[in-house]
């Protein structure tokens, strides 16, 4: 238990370190596909493999966007801060496995899920290795079926714990933190629970449990961009190594002055208390 907590703290530190360099906006989760099966690479050939991988990454990123719409996903390995790496492995000759790994720093790799795609003996009776012309579709299908289909909640948990939905915030006059998440798109999170990871200019770190607010705030991006209605959070508690502490009004004045870097993690999605009334056949 103690070890797990320290591991989390370490991960948290790395996330903060990496993300402190990000100026504004949400983190894009890189979606990468790696082939750890030399046989498959030989069947595809070196000139066709990059194209196949790009197609699969594109397809998986699209599907992840559909399934986890509070986070941004980007195919390929451009943004290296957070990465979901889908891997195809040949565990033993003619036995293919699909694996999902979550990577935050170069040396911090965590396996999220692993499933056998083609068990021993199945390869020969199920069409062999995927050939180049149909590799993208069959590989995407395998990842969608075996990884995203069977481990959706685990992936969501990883995203909630590791990937912030916003990487900045602004204090408003009600001691709320307004995230750069447009109200129109994120108002369904107005009752959800967040964790704000804050960092001061003197490198002091702080974690705050915050609740979404029924009333939207106004986010003011740097000029010339116009202000817009955005999701606002109310920090309630500070997370300490040995527990939690309720925030007082004194804390807010300290927080507002010192903590400039901020990451907002979605800890728990809670449906709003009063759902919008749906108006059949017309806009509200």
């Amino acid at each position: 238990m103690f070890g797990t907590r320290w591991k989390r703290l370490l991960l948290f530190y790395f996330v903060l370190e990496a993300l402190s360099r990000v100026a504004t906006g949400a983190i894009h989760v890189s979606v990468r596909v790696q082939i750890g099966a030399p046989a498959v690479l030989l069947v595809w050939g070196p000139s066709r493999t990059p194209g196949i991988l790009a197609q699969v990454e594109q397809s998986l990123a699209g599907e992840l966007r559909k399934q986890f719409r509070h986070w941004e996903f980007q195919p390929g390995g451009e943004t290296r801060q957070v990465e979901l790496c889908f891997r195809l492995l040949e565990k033993q000759p003619e036995t293919l496995a699909v694996v999902l790994e979550h990577q935050e720093a170069a040396d911090l790799v965590q396996q999220v899920a692993e499933e056998i795609w083609l068990a021993p003996g199945e390869l020969a009776i199920r069409g062999g290795y995927p050939v180049a012309s149909e590799a993208a579709s069959s590989l995407s299908h395998a990842f969608l079926t075996f990884i995203m289909g069977r481990h959706k909640s685990r992936i969501e948990e990883i995203l909630r714990q590791r990937v912030p939905v916003a990487t900045e915030g602004q204090w408003d006059d009600q001691n709320r933190v307004v995230l750069p998440l447009a109200w129109e798109n994120f108002k369904e999170l107005r009752n959800s629970l967040f964790e704000l990871a804050c960092k001061s200019s003197s490198n002091e770190k702080l974690r705050l449990i915050s609740h979404g607010q029924e009333q939207n705030g106004v986010f003011k991006p740097p000029p010339p961009n116009p202000s817009y209605s955005a999701l606002a959070l109310m920090p309630r508690k500070e997370v300490l190594p040995n527990g939690e502490r309720d925030l007082t009004s004194d804390d807010f004045s300290r927080l507002r002055g010192q903590f400039i870097h901020l990451l907002a993690f979605l800890k728990e999605v809670r449906p709003p208390d009063n759902w919008d009334i749906f108006s059949p056949g017309g806009a509200p």
Binding site: G45, P120, G121
Partner: protein
């Protein structure tokens, strides 16, 4: 026999008798030794077969008339010089013909199946010539083939029995060469290239083009285009049956990798891109598999041809697989 003539020239009668008897006997001995036709010839000489009607007609004749005819024939045969001359000439022509032929004896003592046999002279292989001798060899049977050779010389024939690898046989004039089927056909180096079960299934996919290059002693010998993962015979014909021992080995291999036996279906109809290639022990064979227009090989395998000392060594299997 006419008493007048036999008493007049007894030496001629004796000479004719001796020469005709000797020539006939030698001919029958040759037929017995070199051909399968003796039973038919004896049937004819004994007035059986198609001459049965003649025998019937002779029985219709009275004793006196038959004796009269026999006497006349005896006169014609024994009392003229042309009889012994003719017999000697016939013998000479027969010998002249015999020294240009040798016999191949095929013994199928170890084979239950009836099989078609074809024999092609070396010079006519691949020409589509009509001088191909085709016969049926019965299971557990034995058959003699009289084959043309140079005078007092020898000739090479391509002996092909359905389901067995072709074999080159050397036939000598006035000699018999015995070949046992099927054992002696398996005692020659033949290579069977076979993809692994997984690779074979992959190659079967029609959405990808595969080609296989075969090199012999470092030289490109053949390119198999549109390769679909079948096993390939190198050095024998397509119709060669897969030995049961080999099939059992494949079954064990599939079982050990938990693969269902149905995967073996892909291996049951081998192709033969190089049926005429004669492999020798220590030859090197290299096969390289390519995908589409990719220059990098998907898989490759290499083997040095082993001498075949036992039937169990046939064929030498070369397994091709992707690197895992």
């Amino acid at each position: 026999m006419s008493p007048a003539t036999t008493t007049a020239r007894p030496w001629l009668n004796l000479a004719n008798l001796l020469v005709v008897t000797t020539a006939g006997t030698l001919s029958l001995i040759w037929c017995l030794y070199f051909t399968d036709y003796l039973p038919q010839i004896l049937t004819l000489l004994g007035m059986g077969g198609v001459f049965s009607w003649l025998a019937l007609m002779l029985n219709v004749l009275t004793e006196g008339r038959r004796k009269h005819i026999q006497a006349k024939l005896e006169d014609i045969l024994l009392d003229h010089h042309w009889t012994w001359i003719g017999a000697m000439l016939s013998l000479a022509v027969g010998c002249f013909w015999a020294v240009e032929h040798g016999t191949l004896i095929l013994s199928a003592a170890g084979d239950e199946s009836d099989r078609q046999v074809s024999l092609i002279p070396e010079r006519e292989v691949g020409t589509g010539s009509s001088s191909i001798q085709q016969e049926i060899l019965n299971g557990r049977g034995r058959r003699k083939f009289l084959l043309a050779v140079p005078r007092f010389g020898e000739a090479r024939y391509r002996l092909k029995i359905d389901g067995l690898p072709a074999k080159w046989v050397q036939v000598c004039a006035l000699r018999r060469r015995v070949v046992a089927s099927p054992d002696s056909f398996y005692r020659r180096p033949v290579v069977l290239v076979r993809p692994s079960a997984g690779l074979s299934a992959t190659l079967e996919n029609p959405r990808e083009q595969w080609r296989l290059a075969i090199k012999h002693q470092g030289t490109d010998l053949a390119q198999v285009e549109s390769y679909r993962g079948e096993p390939l015979w190198i050095g024998c014909d397509e119709d060669v049956e897969l030995p049961e021992l080999l099939l059992n080995r494949w079954r064990l291999e599939l079982a050990s990798s938990s693969t269902k036996e149905q995967a073996m279906v892909r291996w049951m109809a081998p192709r033969s891109p190089l049926p005429e290639l004669e492999l020798r022990a220590k030859d090197s064979i290299r096969v390289v598999l390519y995908s589409g227009t990719e220059p990098q090989p998907v898989a490759e395998a290499e083997a040095v041809v082993r001498p075949v000392s036992r039937i169990q060594d046939f064929p030498q299997e070369v397994r091709i697989d992707v690197r895992h």
